[in-house]
């Protein structure tokens, strides 16, 4: 494996020394481009009190290419499908090498706070969301209770 670019080392150090509130990201021992991530559900969102596991991978071309991020915890959200894939502009067409791991994770946290059913990835969830928002929110809360409980 080629040596780790300095930028990745710097970002990793800062994630550990000055973490983003409600977010943790730790590199894997065997592969320093692979991060185990947790994001706390934002307050006053259906995901409040939940802790969601994600995986983040920095491809060889990072930062010219966006990090690959996926939810591992099951979540009921119109922009996240059942495989945990996330529909978020900064991960695709609006990526910029000026963005970082921490800003990407902050954007995902913001996506939890404001689901956007008009640009869906999980079509069935988005349909439910548009048809009956309050029952969709209830279901998101239930799933948070069921699947996103912090590990003791």
């Amino acid at each position: 494996m080629s040596s780790l670019p300095k930028r990745i080392i710097k970002e990793t150090e800062r994630l550990v020394s000055d973490p983003v509130p409600g977010i943790t990201a730790e590199p894997h021992d065997d592969n320093l481009r692979y991060f185990e991530v947790t994001i706390e559900g934002p307050q006053q969102s259906p995901y409040e009190n939940g802790v969601f596991d994600l995986e983040l991978f920095l491809p060889d071309d990072y930062p010219m290419e966006a990090p690959k991020v996926r939810f591992l915890t099951k979540i009921y959200h119109p922009n996240i499908d059942r495989l945990g894939r996330i529909c978020l502009d900064v991960l695709k067409t609006n990526w910029s090498p000026a963005l970082q791991i921490r800003t990407v994770l902050l954007s995902i946290q913001a996506l939890l706070a404001s689901p956007n059913p008009n640009d869906p990835l999980a079509n069935d969830v988005a349909e439910d969301w548009i048809k009956d928002e309050s029952s969709a929110i209830d279901k998101a809360k239930q799933w948070t209770q069921l699947y996103a409980q912090p590990k003791k």
């Binding site: 670019p5 300095k6 930028r7 710097k10 010219m64 990526w95 910029s96 090498p97 000026a98």
Partner: protein, 176 residues
């Protein structure tokens, strides 16, 4: 008293001169000197780090060994500076759409700045490439809109006017 000099060690240091506002300072010598002082004062500022690789401008991009002329900077029309190798690599990707990573405006080299001179041609070629891709992308969107309109007309002749109204709106979005 007599002093005999036995050995002389020459020591020098260098730093890129990055004026706060490259456009206005180029005009006069006096102002240029002030720019120099500013450059020194702000040596450790966040601004003196390349926004792409996050290494200091006085160091190299990740792929170079020798700083300075070996790994020079370029100054953007939008006042954002990068290692030339970093920004070139970014603008060479389709994802970049030719935009500055910092402000997402079309990235162009600032004119009349000597440090940019030797790169202008290469960057212009890249910009043309990105522009062509963008045009193709938009004409594909136009095609999609035309297909959507054809299908809508076939499926639903009864509400033709409404459908067309919708489609015309879509096209407006595409043109913008």
């Amino acid at each position: 008293m007599k002093v005999e000099v036995k050995k002389v060690h020459c020591v020098f240091s260098w730093s890129w001169h990055i004026p706060k506002n490259a456009g206005t300072i180029e005009s006069g010598l006096g102002e240029d000197a002030i720019g120099d002082i500013h450059g020194m004062v702000h040596e450790d500022d966040e601004e003196d780090v390349c926004g792409i690789c996050r290494a200091s401008f006085n160091r190299t991009c990740p792929n170079c060994k020798f700083p300075g002329d070996g790994c020079p900077l370029v100054i953007g029309e939008c006042q954002h500076n990068f290692h030339v190798h970093c920004i070139y690599e970014w603008l060479d990707t389709s994802t970049s759409r030719g935009l500055c990573p910092m402000c997402r405006q079309l990235f162009q080299l600032k004119k009349g700045v000597s440090i940019n001179d030797s790169h202008i041609e290469r960057f212009r070629e890249l910009a043309i490439k990105r522009q062509q891709e963008q045009n193709e992308f938009e004409s594909n969107l136009d095609d999609d809109a035309a297909i959507a309109r054809a299908i809508a007309e076939q499926e639903d002749t009864g509400r033709n006017v409404d459908n067309q109204g919708d489609i015309i709106m879509d096209q407006d979005l595409v043109v913008r």
